[in-house]
């Protein structure tokens, strides 16, 4: 029960003058139940990479295995793959199309061959999960607020009951409150429903509080692949590829320079609070 990428390369528009290598020899393994953050500067190949995970893009070379089977084999059931690996695109609210919220969310499960009752049941529970109140179930999705639209779009993918949930910048364009809501919702899904989550972002702050592992992409290849703590300890290198560590890393570094005995490896605000209090007491 895992996703393995084995030397995956992807070239857009190969064979023309516009060709660009978006992925260069990417290899890693994601185990069941992991919560992985995929981070990189704009244009580093994150979106390209995640579209390989459910077979929307084919690698130019290399292989991808899901549960031990090569997903690009000609007889592989890619529809089933897309049910198991739910992909939420960047700005997913732009793909809403139905006359009401509920039908839009049941579009996925219906396509996946759930019968009517089952599809409606999963749509209902997906909408509850993302916190859409009942009185909004039958309004047009175009009448919702930006944050609500995004939740409905995420529910549209959740309704297929995926085992792996991939989200491409789910917080882009949301205010801080909306961002925290979406991220804690994802965290809850991971903790309660035991689904594997791959979260794409270019903000370290976003992922630091939630993920167990961070994969840093730079210019199409994997630059770092480690726990948040270890990744942020390389913050000088991160800066050189256009990323930054969470603000607490900088604050703790500055405190240490002033002679406070703080643990500079803290990554979340809670951990930072803890180590600062500890240093002050001492």
């Amino acid at each position: 029960m895992s996703i393995i990428l084995d030397h995956v390369c992807h070239t857009y528009e190969s064979g023309t003058d516009l060709k660009s290598d978006a992925l260069k020899d990417v290899s890693f393994k994601i185990e069941d139940g992991e919560f992985v953050g995929l981070i990189g500067h704009t244009g580093s190949g994150k979106s390209t990479l995640v579209q390989h995970l459910n077979g929307l893009l084919k690698p130019t070379s290399g292989n991808i295995y899901f549960d031990g089977a090569d997903i690009n084999d000609s007889d592989y059931d890619r529809k089933n793959l897309r049910r198991q690996v739910g992909l939420v695109f960047q700005y997913p609210e732009h793909q809403l199309f139905e006359a009401d919220v509920f039908s839009d969310v049941s579009f996925g499960p219906k396509n996946m061959g759930f019968d009517k009752k089952e599809a409606e049941l999963t749509a209902y529970s997906a909408l509850e999960m993302v916190g859409i109140p009942h009185d909004l179930f039958y309004v047009s999705p175009f009448d919702l607020s930006g944050g609500q639209k995004r939740r409905v779009a995420i529910a549209g993918v959740l309704a297929m009951k995926p085992r792996v949930l991939v989200l491409d910048e789910p917080t882009a364009g949301l205010d801080p409150a909306g961002r925290d809501e979406i991220l804690s919702l994802i965290k809850k899904l991971h903790d309660e429903n035991k689904i594997t989550v791959i979260l794409v972002s270019h903000s370290m702050e976003d992922v630091a509080n939630y993920v167990d592992r961070i994969i840093v992409m730079n210019d199409g290849s994997v630059y770092l692949d480690d726990t948040p703590r270890n990744v942020f300890s390389h913050y000088r290198e991160l800066e050189s590829i256009g990323l930054s560590a969470p603000a607490v890393t900088y604050i703790l570094g500055a405190l240490q320079n002033k002679g406070f005995n703080v643990d500079t490896n803290a990554t979340t605000i809670d951990e930072a609070l803890h180590t600062i209090l500890h240093a002050l007491k001492a």
Binding site: E13, Q51, N54, L56, K79, R82, R83, G86, L87, F89, P92, H94, Q95, L96, F97, F107, G108, K110, N111, M112, F142, G156, V157, M160
Partner: protein
């Protein structure tokens, strides 16, 4: 997926033809198309071919790019060629049942196919060497005399350049929405016609919504920068004829005279 479609593609390089005023290129293309229908003998075709290849060489656009434009009309070329070859009455050279190849048929088919090829290549030189913005500027200025008849020339040109600008954006958007719906199990490859039509709804609705959203945003942005139509509007890079443009007009004129004289009137 859908990005392979190219319409009016610009080939960026620096050449004599690229630097010409867009009005010259518009007039030149129009003249060339007219000349293709004026000539009716082989010296005419030699002149037209020579002129075309001279311009291609001057434009420094690889011939590969010109030929690419022809791919879209291969079917049309074949049909035009075959129909003319077999169904033109005249002096029979070869016959089988109802099909016959005549001397006139051969001439007809080859001139038809040549004309079509030259037509496409001639007009693709214009789009390959002129940016869409430049082209609409040229159209606007070239047609500005129509303003006397109260034709909204500036507005039409503006609409055209916005439309051209939106083509790649909308293609990209289509690609994205398609992928997003495939990720939710939509099936765009079904052979069944009804299913196929139904599958378009989840693609077209978001596409229209997004087109309107973009149009709205653009209108707002234009208004915020005080756009209020063409009256009294000046340009950052006004179109001014240079010496090379005058020379180009002269070359076009000479070409037209040569075409009419050798391609129509002169008897060999």
């Amino acid at each position: 997926m859908i990005r392979d479609i190219t319409i009016g593609q610009y080939y960026s390089t620096d050449s004599l033809i690229h630097r010409l005023d867009p009005r010259v290129k518009l007039v030149g293309t129009l003249c060339y198309i007219i000349s293709l229908f004026l000539i009716n003998n082989w010296p005419g075709y030699i002149i037209a071919t020579a002129f075309l290849f001279m311009v291609i060489a001057l434009s420094r656009v690889p011939v590969k790019f010109m030929v690419r434009g022809l791919r879209a009309i291969v079917l049309l070329l074949i049909i035009a060629g075959v129909v003319n070859l077999f169904f033109t009455p005249g002096e029979e050279l070869w016959a089988w049942k109802k099909l016959s190849i005549t001397k006139e048929g051969i001439t007809m088919a080859s001139t038809m196919v040549l004309r079509l090829i030259f037509l496409i290549m001639g007009s693709s030189i214009m789009t390959l060497t002129t940016t869409p913005n430049n082209l609409t500027d040229g159209l606007e200025k070239g047609l500005s005399f129509l303003k006397i008849f109260k034709a909204p020339v500036h507005e039409m040109a503006m609409m055209m350049s916005i439309a051209l600008r939106f083509i790649p954006i909308l293609l990209e958007e289509t690609d994205k929405i398609m992928k997003a719906q495939i990720a939710r199990g939509a099936d765009f490859e079904s052979k069944n016609l009804i299913k196929k039509a139904k599958a378009l709804v989840p693609l077209l609705v978001p596409l229209f919504v997004s087109a309107f959203r973009r149009a709205n945003d653009l209108a707002l942005a234009m208004e915020a920068r005080c756009y209020r139509g063409g009256d009294g509007r000046t340009k950052m890079k006004p179109l001014i004829y240079k010496k090379a443009d005058a020379a180009a007009y002269l070359v076009i004129l000479l070409y037209m005279i040569a075409c009419i004289y050798f391609g129509r009137i002169f008897k060999f």
